[in-house]
């Protein structure tokens, strides 16, 4: 009889039931979409961090930043100017450690020995700037004759003269190289990339002249397995192409750590130590231990790095967690209230029915169960509709895949531009100057997805039942309070 009454009543109140179900559906769909988008953003953020850190890395250790010293350390390119008309091409590779701050390789062992550290691997991040081109002197033309500019660049004394011709025509190629510890492939930035062609490093290739190229860089430079790349006059064979699983790759080229140390002249030095903790819940304790016991280091956990994420990803995440959450909560509360009021109003219209049933001997509990049952079924219908709408919304977000930009600051964020300025024409010697950029920013683009988890679906079902129960409570309370005589009297 319970189900017969329930079915018939829902059929009778089709429109009102649809209004209640639609309200709940809207709220639940919003909750699903907001939840999924938040999850997608969190995943995007993780992907951004992973692309810098690599899988399984809990924190990184770098040298504490020091204020840049005046002058001295600025890298410089020096080219001798050639005579005008010379076809000679000059080229120079400048290999610099990122951030110009290195740690002794022994620090890796020291960090690995700290309590709570499961493993630690060192790596050397390099920036390579290759400048190649023609650099020619200008000519000093005086009245009645001409004279070539001297190596000093400035015109000498004498009668008024002007400089003609000369200058520089050069190409600057900047790329990044990461020296990886090939004996420990389980940690470090290369773990966030997948070898899609060729092979990865063998553990025996500690000092081999082999390289793995990032897929995007390989495409740009037309590199493939078996190609060679030359860095500072050293030729490396490309043994594999690695594709970053998300975002940008950590480097354009990966070479064995020893090779990177030799190229940069940083023997037994590393720029970054990647650390995996034994317990991911104790990262702060491990961080404190490293900072205390290994002086002069900066320890950055993934949560530290997450705080530095800015850009549209960060803005969207704030919107989703802020406005989105409040909006869905407001819609849900409104839907619950409307459902409650409509159910209560439906009970008012059925006073005669409930009064009659009570006169026939139906207990208040039985009548209340009937009202609550109808409301819960209504809520579940709203839930099913809401889940369908929510899934459609989440699918739409994933299908459209709006691109979000994430900017990361901090120690792993990158470095400033190495190229300062170029000497102008007419100078005898062209000088390119670059300086350490310190903690710069890295900009990454990630496509937003809205993955719907089983937890989200369970939450939606829970909300639907809750909505039904709240609505049922409104109506049930009214129905339970009805006294049969009052109910029949009010009708008559």
């Amino acid at each position: 009889m319970f189900f017969t009454c329930l079915r018939r009543e829902l059929r009778r109140r089709g429109k009102a039931a649809l209004v209640v179900a639609s309200g709940l559906a809207l709220g639940i769909a919003l909750v699903i979409v907001v939840n999924s988008v938040s999850r997608g953003m969190s995943r995007a953020q993780d992907e951004v961090l992973q692309s810098l850190y690599g899988l399984g890395t809990d924190m990184s250790v770098t040298k504490a930043a020091a204020p840049p010293s005046k002058g001295g350390q600025r890298p410089r390119f020096r080219f001798e100017a050639k005579d005008d008309g010379s076809e000679d091409t000059q080229s120079s590779d400048l290999v610099m450690t990122q951030g110009f701050a290195t740690l002794p390789a022994s620090t890796v062992t020291e960090v690995a020995g700290q309590k709570g550290v499961s493993s630690a691997v060192g790596g050397l991040s390099l920036d390579v700037v290759k400048v190649s081109g023609q650099f020619t002197r200008g000519r000093i033309r005086q009245d009645g004759g001409e004279q070539r500019g001297g190596p000093g660049g400035g015109p000498g004394g004498g009668p008024p003269a002007r400089i003609e011709g000369g200058g520089a025509d050069f190409d600057v190629n900047h790329y990044t190289v990461y020296g990886t510890d090939v004996t420990r492939p389980e940690l470090g930035p290369l773990t966030s990339s997948k070898i899609t062609s060729g092979r990865g490093f063998r553990t025996s290739e500690t000092n081999a002249r082999v390289a793995v190229a990032d897929a995007a860089y390989a495409k740009e430079k037309k590199l493939e397995v078996g190609s060679t790349v030359t860095i500072k006059d050293v030729t490396y064979e490309v043994i594999g192409i690695a594709t970053a699983s998300s975002g940008d790759a950590a480097a354009n080229l990966y070479i064995p750590l020893k090779q990177a140390q030799t190229l940069s002249g940083e023997k037994d030095k590393v720029t970054t130590i990647y650390v995996k903790a034994t317990d991911s819940q104790q990262l702060d304790t491990v961080k404190s231990a490293i900072q205390k016991n290994v002086p002069g280091t900066t320890v950055t956990t993934s949560s530290d790095l997450a705080k530095t994420v800015s850009g549209s990803l960060s803005t969207a995440a704030e919107l989703a967690t802020g406005v989105g959450t409040w909006l869905s909560a407001a819609v849900l509360v409104a839907a619950f209230l409307i459902a409650g009021l409509l159910t209560s109003s439906a009970v008012s219209r059925r006073v005669r029915e409930f009064g009659t049933l009570k006169a026939l001997g139906w207990t208040s509990g039985r009548v209340t169960r009937q009202v609550v049952g109808e409301a819960v079924v209504n809520g579940l219908a709203g839930g099913a509709l809401g889940i369908a709408l929510g899934l459609a919304g989440a699918y739409l977000v994933t299908a459209v895949g709006p691109v979000l930009q994430a900017q990361l600051g901090g120690p792993l964020g990158g470095m400033g531009g190495p190229v300062g300025g170029a000497g102008g024409p007419g100078g005898g010697r062209a000088v390119l100057g670059g300086g350490p950029g310190g903690p710069g920013t890295t900009s990454l683009e990630v496509a937003l997805t809205a993955p719907v988890s089983a937890t989200t679906i369970a939450l939606a079902v829970g909300l639907a039942v809750t909505g039904g129960l709240i609505a049922g409570a409104f109506g049930g309370w009214r129905a339970a309070r009805l006294r049969p005589a009052d109910a029949l009297r009010r009708v008559d």
Binding site: T4, C5, R8, R352, E353, W362, S364, P484, A485
Partner: protein, 227 residues
């Protein structure tokens, strides 16, 4: 058997108070057929509600077979209603979404009768009031007289001791009225019921063995030896 002793009922609404029943003493024997008459607002329906355990008196006792209904808990009073008292209302009070058979079944639900038996008993009850062919009809698909027959079947399907009818023919035309009264009279005789009916209809009142007239909450009882 009913015994009403000093039953009063006073309704208070704000500053206004209405004395619906004013010290009613009445005895109704098993199998009696009693008609309650009186002007509108005189307290007829209130008296019926006291007898049916739908409402409680302000003071006094309403004793049914030795049990004072006024002192029972709500749960026990509901139980008494479900087992022993059948109601027929002026407006039929059928559930519009349920078929004739399902409407009759609603009276058996609180008794915990299993679904199959419920259906069989409901069909039998409808057959007895001449609606064996209308089991699956909704109230909206039936005439007023047919709806009232369904209500009578619903009242009697649980085999109660008492049948209380509040203006059962009030919404019916004359020929249907006679039809329904015939059915009620037949049921009263067949089931040996105690039958209390409120009516405005003097023709019906004349047929009762006892006539109770209620005015301003007070009753007068007439024995009708000719009925």
């Amino acid at each position: 058997m009913y015994e009403l002793r000093g039953v009063t009922k006073r309704y208070v609404r704000g500053k206004d108070a209405v004395q619906a029943l004013d010290g009613i003493d009445l005895t109704i024997g098993d199998g009696d057929r009693l008609v309650v008459q009186g002007p509108t607002g005189g307290g007829k329906s209130t008296l019926l509600q006291m007898l049916g355990g739908l409402d409680r008196p302000t003071s006094g006792e309403v004793v049914l077979d030795g049990i004072d209904l006024a002192s029972l808990s709500e749960a026990r009073l509901t139980r008494v209603r479900s087992e022993h008292i059948g109601f027929v209302f002026q407006s039929f009070n059928l559930i519009p979404t349920l078929t004739a058979q399902e409407n009759v079944e609603t009276a058996l639900v609180p008794l915990g009768v299993r679904a199959a038996e419920r259906r069989a008993r409901a069909a039998e009850a409808l057959e007895s009031v001449g609606l064996g062919e209308r089991l699956t009809h909704l109230p909206g698909e039936m005439s007023g007289g047919q709806q009232q027959r369904v209500a009578i079947a619903r009242a009697l399907v649980k085999r109660p001791k008492v049948l209380l009818a509040d203006e059962p023919t009030g919404n019916l035309d004359e020929s249907t009225r006679d039809e329904i009264m015939d059915v009620l009279e037949r049921m009263w005789k067949e089931h040996g019921l105690t039958f209390v009916m409120v009516t405005h209809d003097s023709a019906l009142a004349r047929k009762a063995s006892r006539l109770v007239t209620i005015r301003q909450g007070r009753i007068t009882v007439e024995e009708n030896t000719g009925a």
